[in-house]
């Protein structure tokens, strides 16, 4: 019970802090839009005609925006040494990790929900697909879990902004591959079987494995 209440207290605190400052939401939204626009120019295609590149573009934007959110989540804990406050509290390290992860997840899902309709217009995607929503949710859980763990590790170093993407992207590659492949199939409107039999199970297994491993290692790394 204490684990759950502490987890939600930490997550709610992060959400409240973010809505109060709004600095990450605004910069993440602008950054997401810039990524799409820059790719449009880079690929020298008119908006709405990116075709097969659209799923990859969507997930590149989401991944970069996610890194912004993860960096910010732990930067806030370092401002006044508040991470020590969390670690000195009589709650398990699991609760600290899961609370931070839930806060990051909530923030990422919100940003993705705002960006998706914009991408849908710019990339000519059917944004209101339930399957696409499920793919985004499962992939974002994987992003938030792995990202929170590496953000916590990177936060202990001076070069945290550089270190996080260097650690994060190699590990998250399976999620990006599965998400891009599943998104492509969902957008094509063709046979959905590979989504349900191959890509979604891969995302579920990835999430489950890292939701066990990351809190465990986090507890070991931050055990006083």
């Amino acid at each position: 019970m204490r684990l759950l209440s502490a987890t939600f207290a930490i997550a709610w605190k992060d959400v409240r802090l973010e809505f109060r400052s709004r600095d990450t939401i605004v910069s993440a939204l602008i950054f997401g839009l810039i990524v799409v626009v820059v790719f449009n120019f880079g690929l020298n295609r008119a908006p709405g005609s990116l075709g097969p590149a659209a799923p990859g573009l969507l997930w590149v934007a989401y991944a970069f925006v996610g890194v912004l959110a993860m960096n910010r989540a732990f930067a806030r804990e370092l401002e006044q040494g508040a991470l020590d406050g969390l670690l000195a509290a009589p709650v398990s390290r699991d609760a600290v990790f899961l609370g931070k992860m839930l806060g990051t997840l909530a923030f990422m899902v919100l940003i993705e929900a705002i960006l998706l309709p914009v991408f849908a217009v710019m990339l000519d995607l059917p944004a209101l697909s339930p399957v696409l929503g499920l793919i985004i949710l499962l992939a974002t859980i994987g992003f938030a879990t792995v990202g929170t763990f590496f953000a916590a590790i990177a936060a202990q170093t001076r070069s945290r902004e550089i270190l996080l993407p260097v650690l994060f992207f190699p590990v998250i590659v399976p999620v990006i591959i599965a998400a891009v492949e599943a998104t492509a199939l969902a957008l094509q409107g063709g046979p959905m079987l590979p989504i349900w039999t191959r890509w979604l199970p891969l995302l579920v297994v990835f999430d489950a494995v890292f939701l066990v491993i990351c809190p465990w290692i986090f507890g070991f790394v931050f055990e006083g």
């Binding site: 209440s5 207290a9 409240r16 040494g81 508040a82 009589p90």
Partner: protein, 241 residues
């Protein structure tokens, strides 16, 4: 004025070692502070005072040795031992964009404080922060933030309070008020260990004076508040020679 007791130590560290790379910060520190006492830890910059306090608070894992808080071994009992400790560090451990009250409500949830509203009101009043309760921490002066940091540390009424130079940034009245709070603290049988560079504070507040030099506890002296007493060689760190 002393509340020394012969009971089990509220704070106990045995053979504490901590190395950062090839630099030894703590070199086999043995420390014991009985319940109900205020111990003041002196030492030059870099002597290892902050590292020792962080180790006792469970924020830093010693490379060797054990910490016990009220008989609970920190490594084994983790959360239960941490529940008995309040920690005031150099930083406030607060969130700048939350109000004073929101910060305390958050920590009250983490510590499972029963009826937190009443406790928060009384603690804010005690630390003269009642009229700032709904102001964001960012807007407070350094001294007020420090007082709020003390409020955060004593919110859950821990048995042991660890304070790292708590007087820094406080005006004279606030230092006096903190002294009164600590006197009341030890009068109720609770224990405090604080670091300071002020010999005045050491003399005024301490039941026991400790001195750390280059990672070794070289002296433990019983004191009468407002006057330092006799050396207690038996408690001195054996490693000090």
């Amino acid at each position: 004025m002393s509340h020394a007791s012969s009971g089990p130590s509220a704070i106990s560290g045995v053979g504490l070692r901590k190395d950062y790379g090839d630099r030894s910060v703590l070199r086999g520190v043995n420390i014991a502070v009985p319940s109900g006492q205020i111990a003041v830890l002196f030492g030059a910059n870099g002597a290892g005072k902050t590292t020792l306090l962080r180790t006792l608070a469970g924020l830093s894992r010693p490379d060797a040795g054990d910490v016990h808080i009220a008989g609970l071994r920190m490594r084994r009992s983790g959360g239960r031992a941490r529940d008995l400790v309040g920690f005031v560090g150099h930083q406030t451990l607060l969130y700048n964009d939350l109000t004073c009250r929101e910060n305390l409500v958050f920590y009250a949830k983490l510590y499972g404080v029963a009826r937190p509203e009443r406790r928060i009101e009384s603690i804010l009043a005690r630390l003269n922060l009642a009229d700032r309760a709904d102001r964001r921490v960012r807007t407070l002066s350094h001294g007020m933030q420090k007082r709020l940091s003390v409020a955060r540390a004593i919110l859950h009424e821990p048995a042991v309070l660890l304070l790292d130079e708590p007087e820094s940034g406080l005006d004279t009245d606030s230092v006096a008020s903190l002294g009164e709070l600590l006197q009341d603290w030890s009068s109720s049988g609770k224990t405090a260990l604080l670091t300071t560079h002020s010999s005045e504070i050491g003399q005024a507040w301490a039941d026991r004076v400790l001195t750390l030099n280059r990672g070794r506890l070289v002296e433990q002296t019983h004191a009468h508040r407002d006057g330092v007493g006799a050396n207690d060689a038996s408690n001195a760190d054996p490693a000090s020679g």
